[in-house]
Amino acid sequence: MTAAVIVFPGSNCDRDLAVAFEGVTGKKPNMVWHAESELPAGTDLIGLPGGFSYGDYLRSGAMAAVSPVMKAVAAAAARGVPTIGICNGFQLLTEARLLPGALMRNAGLHFICRDAQLRVETSDSPFLRGYEEGERITIPVAHHDGNYQADAETLDRLEGEGRVAFRYVDNINGSARGIAGILSAQRNVLGMMPHPERAFERAHGNTDGRRLFEALVGQIA
């Protein structure tokens, strides 16, 4: 299994994500700088980390979405390569139109940094098979722009196709229909605001996020 973590100027969860990938695959992921135009050969797992790429200039994730490496990421995602965007990575996936909707300023205007209770809405994705539908898990959040918004038609489609991955048990940031994470139509692209890589080992106080990464092992050649 050959994982890639994409690193943008201003990414700050790239190393945490690399530790999580290595923890389940036994192999250090390739750290791929945003200016690259190709992914390493054989890449079969892609992570877009949290942070503040390009200082959140223009809109969170907007500049990163047009960086050279994203064409290769989009092509790999279209081929079915499991691709996860966490926090800033989720913002970037929406800006790159790999996922619908947009992430706006939290309704309460404050940066929110704490554990969040999530409800797992589906287990039908390479990332979600370690969870049971309806299960409640605890994953930390740390974001200012986590307020997921999309038009009613898009939200209905996401719900109708079972593409809502996670919802906040208490809607902490004003997201439409409490959405905390969504899947692409092919279900191999997951964007989520909470940080599963921060709930990976016992020293984190909780390992609910670890199961997301463990679910990947064995599914990818």
Binding site: L58, V66, N147, Q149, G174
Partner: protein
């Protein structure tokens, strides 16, 4: 040539920033402010003769997120 791109949130899109500004104006004693919407202005210094269609493409591809924002181009 210069162009001004004005980016605003689409009607109906929640604008927490506008709400906060609205609240602060109230706090300063400005009554009668019905609503506040915050947006951004981007000034472009362009090669003469740049077609407006090119500026529209810039807006569609980067300057505005058309999921949530409208944009207006004024050639100055």
């Amino acid at each position: 040539m210069k162009a001004r791109v004005t980016i605003t949130l689409k009607p109906g899109v929640l604008d927490p920033q506008g709400k906060a500004i609205h609240h602060a104006l109230g706090g300063l004693g400005f009554d009668g402010v019905e609503d506040v919407r915050a947006g951004k202005v981007i000034l472009l210094d362009l090669a003469d003769g740049t077609p407006v269609e090119t500026i529209d493409k810039m807006c569609e591809q980067l300057l505005a997120n058309t999921v949530i924002e409208n944009y207006k181009v004024d050639v100055l």
